[in-house]
Structure formats: C-alpha cells, structure tokens
Symmetry: C2
Subunit: 268 residues, 2 copies
C-alpha cells in the first residue's frame, strides 16, 4: 500500500502524476491519493472578493485563516474543482477513481481548535475563536478498504469533520500521514514543487537524500514554511509504523516513478 | 427504497429537508439523495466573470450552455459548495452521508452530445460542438448498494462521465430517475420550489393531485421550463418499474414528510 500526497502548488505536473499512478497500479500495490489545492484557493478567493489571509500560531506554524466563508470557498476549490479534476483525469486514464472529502463517511475526523492562539504582524498575541481548523485524529479505514477491495482508487481531500459535525480545515500532509498509518501503508509519498527537504532552501542542490527514521525530528530545523508540516507528518508516519516516507518533486515528466526509484528525500 | 431529488432553487428549505430525511431513515426505508445547484451556479459564475448562458434545443428544451470553463464552475458549486454543504448538514444531524458526483466510480455514465442543435434568440438554428452535455444511460448500482449496505447515505450530484471519460453536464431530475430505476426504487420524490405540476402555472391552486402512470406523457402539455425534464424523468421512471413518482414542495417545514403523506403531484 502506497499513499501518495499531491501538493497544492501550480507547478506540479498533474498529467504526468496521473499517468504514473495509472501505470504503477498495474504493477500491483494498492494506492490511495490525497491532494491539496492551496494555490487555486488563493486565486478563486481573491476573485470572489474574499482574499486569503494566513495566520502564524504562537508555536510558529503558518496556516490559512479559515472563517466560514473561507471554508465554503475552500470546499469549492478542493472538493469541487481540484477533486473532480483529478477524478476526471484518472477516469480518462482508465482508472476508476472515487473522490471523497474528509466529511464523506466521516473519513477524517478530529477536534476543532476552538481557540487559535496567533501572533499578529505587529508581534502582539491574540486568540481567534471563529476559525474552523483542526487536525485529523481518526480515519475511517473501513470505507477506504471496501473501496480498494472493490477496485476503486480513493482520491481524498480536506476538509475533515469535527466531532461536532462541522467541516474543519486540516493540513493535507498530516491527513495523508494519518491515512497511511490507519491503512498500515508501506510508503507515504509526498509530492510538492521542490525536490525534497533542502539543507539550504531554496538551493535545490542542497537536497537531503536520506534521513534515518529515528532522527527525523532533528531535521525539523531545515524545514521552513509549508515544509514544516510535511516533516511533522513524516515523523508521525514513521513513528507509527509506516516503513518509509519520501518527499519528492512533483514537477517532472515521471514524478512518481522517479520517487519510487529513489529520487527526493527518503526517510526510513 | 426512496430516491429523493432536492432541486437547485434558493427557496428550498435545506435544514427542514435534512431533518425530515434523518427522521425518515429511522423508520426503515433505504434512501438515496440527489441534489442540484443551478441558482448558486448562476451567481458564482457571474462573480467569476463567466455569467451563465442558456440555450434552447430545436426540440424546445432549455439547458445550460456548458463550455469547459462553465463545467469547472459547475463542479465547484455542485460538487464542492452544495454537495459538501448537504454532507455537513447530514453529518451534524447524525446521518453518515457520503457525497459523490457522477464521475466518482463512474456512478453516472452516458454519451456526450457531440453536436447540440439549438435555436438562437433571432430564431436561426445553429450547431454547438464545444458543449459538454449529455444524458445518464448507465448507473453504477453496485457502488450505491455497497454504500447503502454499510449504512451510508449516498448524496449524489452532477456532472456525469462520458464514455470517453469527460465530465458532462446532465439533468439532475433525469439522473435521479435513472438512479431510481437502477436501484429498483419504490418511490422517486422530486422536491422543488413549486407545490407540484400546475395546470395553470404559476397559479399554485391549480395543482394536479394525481396522474395515472399510463397517462403521464399526456401531462407534458402542462409542463414549462425546468418542469419539462421533471415530467420526462417521471415518465421514464414509472415506465421502467418505479412504483410512484411524487413532485412536491421543498419550501415547507416538513417537506419530505408532507410529500410522503400525499401532498404534491403523485404519479402512480
């Protein structure tokens, strides 16, 4: 079993990723796809007059400010535009994909953060109470297994569902990690618009080729911005029994094949 | 088995419909929901600078002009905003809903109309070749049955998938009719923003209470605009073995219960 996370940057080569996944499926392993849509959400939100805002938590993580209107736009882009774009690409490639959000079948459940402690741009701290964010804590593995056993390719996307039944924005990389853990996946492959974890971002020649699973936390120091949650997800995955996590480049002509062949940053 | 189609008008009482369906599920019958989203699509399309256009076929049916950009907006609204809104409402009401489009698992398949013959406003005829529309001909009943048997409520929405693997805009009422036929449903309930089929639209006191199944085609004469495809779907359903079709008002406080109790237009 391989869980493949396709990042939400515009530089990723969707056609090539879909082609590779269609090919990889023929060689045997069960596959689950998780995708993002951040860049498109920013664009559509601006067009709809509700431009994106990002907040930094007191512990230093950046996330999307998700009020109720943002959540609706987020669902339009992630669950509507992007999820159905991937499902259509897979169907045209002969792969019977089924697109689901974390709401569907309570696929991804977690606690909504009822208070988000952030640092404002002027350095002052404040608490947000109308933010719809959280973290995936439970995965409906039964629903995924029944789809896999019937021959479908699950194509998953945020948001997730709170225990109170509200949609919540969750990090897609960590959701993919929880999915890999719940399915006892062998490999979690995280494709983005960089070649992997870089020792000196953005110098792509500083790619870190290998991280021993036991030392992944030490490498957090090299992760900036969105890479932080990828490393955090990777740490959660390898510590919970996923054999390896690969950060790899989603921009090439054979991105999945290259990653399986050892390109990128391998954590095992 | 009851298939419930929730129309895409803004006047429908979604909260009441969801509450009624949650209650009805407890009394036993298996349920499948199909929904639209036309009014919201018109609004969002205008906001995104691609306002809706409608075309009239030479046989007199009006449908949405669906170029590739319209299809993308259509998916954002139907599969993103509306489908996830319904799934979230059901989840908050304790119903484990799974939202799917016709693309997912090839749930709804049909032939794309590669040429659409229309009548322009000036009365001249022309042929459109870049329109992504079609009609549902095949339903993946196996996927629906496996979800139903596992206790999920399927919540379905257009688009459908062409045999070539392209997304196509299809009429939701006729898709619901094909779904009812494929599942050998007892009842197809079509909720919209009118009380049923009216003998003298828009006079709501002219409601037709009963149509014998064998005579449904004769009643086509009373159907205008969007009601035409509802009557056509009803005819297809009763002629293919669905016991009864009900057109009912989705605007009240107990719309599903009222319809099951005999309000609206009953075709049987």
């Amino acid at each position: 079993m391989i869980v493949i996370k396709i990042g939400g940057g515009k530089a990723l080569n969707h056609a090539a990723i879909v082609r590779d996944i269609a090919q990889l499926r023929k060689t045997g392993p069960q596959l689950v796809v998780v995708h993002g849509g951040a860049a498109w959400t920013n664009e559509i939100a601006a067009q709809l007059g509700h431009p994106p805002q990002f907040v930094t938590s007191v512990s230093g993580y950046t996330s999307r400010r998700t009020d109720r209107r943002t959540l609706e736009i987020f669902e339009m882009v992630y669950c509507g535009m992007m999820n159905k774009r991937f499902v259509e690409l897979f169907q045209a490639a002969g792969v019977n994909a089924v697109g689901l959000s974390g709401l569907d079948g309570r696929l991804w459940e977690g606690k909504r953060k009822d208070r988000l402690r952030i640092v404002r741009e002027d350095g002052r701290r404040m608490v947000l109470r109308d933010d719809y964010t959280g973290r995936v804590e439970k995965v409906n593995a039964g629903l995924l297994r029944s789809l896999l056993n019937a021959g479908y390719l699950p194509v998953l996307t945020p948001p997730a569902l709170s225990y109170a039944g509200e949609a919540i924005n969750v990090d897609g990389d960590r959701a993919a990690a929880q999915t890999a853990i719940a399915l006892a996946a062998d490999t979690l492959l995280i494709l983005s618009d960089v070649p992997g974890l870089l020792r000196a971002f953005p110098d792509e020649s500083s790619l870190i080729r290998h991280i021993p699973a036991a030392q992944v936390d030490d490498y957090m120091t090299f992760a900036g911005g969105r890479m932080k949650k990828k490393v955090m997800g990777a740490a959660e995955a390898v510590q919970a029994g996923v054999r390896r996590v690969i950060f790899a480049d989603g921009r090439g002509e054979t991105p999945v094949q290259d990653a399986i062949d050892g390109a990128g940053t391998v954590i095992d």
